[in-house]
């Protein structure tokens, strides 16, 4: 357990309809996602006494409004965050609320509407820190991801294959996942032939923007017995932040705060990196996935390329990574999938994608300025 407090379990995971241009509103997506997680866990409205929400500011629905939306009229605790590392921002708040005794059954939500490859509004002035990026044609996420990928390649002597092999492995998982949106198998050649967005970052290094709402339900070990799924326990977690709030200014781009989040997570558990058998590592951009392999100690610094090339992260490997296909293939549900698939794996319900005998798994979100990771176990 993560320090003092009650042991936390995950008892339900689910998604709304996930797709491009679903025509669904944010509130429709939230209602669908919540209902799916509740149905998965056999959780009733009357059971839920807390809601944690993470969303981008332009697509934010306050957590208390979700309570009203979902017929949860008397919540003991709500939390809304527009900042931080994707779904785990809400997921860690929910787990901490349960551990502390502030709430007993918490619904954590991550809704989003598809964001295209938009940039600054023409004619608008760039304010705050943006004024040191946008006038130069910089500041888009794909561009800092390209900078990070380039730095990893230059510092570690990697080729683009380092990233391509992981993307090929994830598509192989996606081909076995009926819920994935991109399911045609690809080769390393296919990867190397896709266009660049911000060289060396290619289109196939990027996640797939969608409308979605993912939901995860957290409760205590004791209450978990009331629900229908085999509980998955949350062993430890941490956020990480860095001394610079802009991704482009990360002091050490091949390290970043992911290493600090992982160190803090490992410091609060008797489990070790060698115990991890399955992982959901953020793949908004593929360099982030490889960074987390090293941050979490699944392999050494600068060794993620070899770790992937040796097959460790593929189907049948020692630590399969992103076994649902990842956000590059199931769509940008923004970190929920990295928790949800690890939960399915630890339940032993991932079908053809199952990592045999998986008992310990880890999920991790984001890179650089804000990061988070969560360690889970089946027992």
């Amino acid at each position: 357990m993560s320090g003092a407090g009650r042991r936390v379990a995950i008892v339900g995971v689910g998604y709304s309809t996930v797709g491009r241009d679903t025509g669904l509103s944010l509130k429709q997506l939230i209602a669908q996602g919540a209902a799916a997680a509740m149905a998965d866990g056999g959780v009733e409205q009357a059971d839920i006494d807390g809601v944690a929400m993470h969303a981008f500011p332009q697509h934010f629905v306050p957590a208390y409004e979700c309570g009203a939306l979902l017929g949860l009229p008397s919540l003991k605790w709500t939390s809304g965050s527009i900042e931080g590392p994707a779904f785990l921002s809400a997921g860690i708040h929910a787990a901490a609320a349960v551990a502390s005794g502030t709430a007993d059954v918490v619904l954590a939500l991550r809704p989003m509407l598809r964001l295209g490859a938009t940039g600054p509004t023409p004619g608008a002035r760039a304010a705050g820190g943006r004024q040191f990026l946008e006038p130069f044609g910089a500041g888009r996420p794909a561009q800092w991801a390209g900078m990070i990928k380039q730095r990893m390649m230059s510092e570690f002597g990697w080729g683009e294959e380092a990233f391509g092999r992981q993307m090929v492995a994830q598509r192989e998982f996606a081909a076995m996942n009926p819920d994935a949106l991109l399911r045609n198998r690809i080769t390393l050649d296919d990867y190397m032939n896709t266009r660049y967005v911000a060289k060396p970052l290619r289109l196939l290094d990027c996640d797939y923007p969608v409308d979605s709402c993912g939901a995860v339900i957290f409760t205590t070990e004791e209450r978990a017995r009331d629900f229908k799924q085999k509980p998955v326990f949350v062993e430890s977690w941490s956020f990480g932040t860095s001394g610079e709030s802009d991704f482009e200014l990360a002091e050490d781009m091949t390290r970043t705060s992911s290493f600090d989040a992982a160190a803090a997570m490992w410091a609060r558990t008797s489990l070790t990196p060698q115990d991890v058998q399955v992982a959901g590592l953020y793949d908004g951009f593929s360099p982030i996935t490889l960074n987390w392999m090293e941050a979490l100690g699944l392999c050494g610094r600068g060794e993620a390329s070899d770790f992937v090339a040796e097959g460790n992260t593929s189907l049948g490997g020692r630590v399969p990574v992103n076994c649902d296909g990842g956000a590059t293939n199931v769509g940008r549900v923004h970190g929920v999938n990295h928790v949800a698939e690890v939960v399915r794996q630890l339940r032993g319900t991932s079908g053809d994608r199952q990592r045999p005998d998986a008992k310990v798994g880890v999920a991790a979100n984001s890179i650089a300025a804000f990061t988070a990771c969560m360690l889970m176990s089946a027992e």
Binding site: A117, G119, P122
Partner: protein, 149 residues
């Protein structure tokens, strides 16, 4: 000359905290905040020194020399102004005054094939409007060529 339809480069919304920087660039001087108490430069401009929380910070001029920490070649434009400038090179420059003191800019007078990590670079000025001059970078020691406005 701009017409009504020609896309205009995104310009900074200059505020009290950043005015010294843009006042400096207009005079072709690269200025950054320097903390008198812990003797460190900071970028972007900020109200207190994150090293020691002192607010005794004043602009100091930098040499404008550094090395490429990393880069990316922009192959897709996210703003119409940059659409016909593709591909262009974005660099994170490690400025020589202090380890880890960085500046994000465009590398000009250098083809995408020529840029590399560790490459020495130096500032070159692009006067965009009467108000705004951008500090761009070019390979160190190369003869200055006119920059496309």
């Amino acid at each position: 000359m701009t017409t009504e339809t020609a896309p205009v480069r995104p310009l900074p919304l200059i505020d009290d905290e950043t005015r010294f920087f843009w006042d400096g660039t207009r005079e072709h001087r690269l200025l950054m905040q320097y903390c008198a108490d812990c003797k460190r430069y900071h970028h972007y401009p900020r109200p207190v020194c994150p090293g020691c929380l002192s607010s005794d910070m004043a602009p100091e001029e930098l040499s404008g020399r550094g090395r490429v920490y990393t880069y990316t070649i922009a192959e897709q434009a996210f703003h119409p102004f940059f659409a016909d400038r593709l591909p262009y090179v974005l660099v994170v420059v490690d400025l020589e005054e202090q380890p880890g003191l960085r500046f994000v800019s465009e590398l000009v007078q250098c083809s995408p094939e020529e840029v590399s990590v560790g490459m020495p670079v130096e500032v070159v000025w692009e006067d965009v409007t009467e108000e705004v001059t951008l500090p761009l970078f070019k390979p160190a020691g190369s003869a200055d060529r006119a920059v496309q406005a």
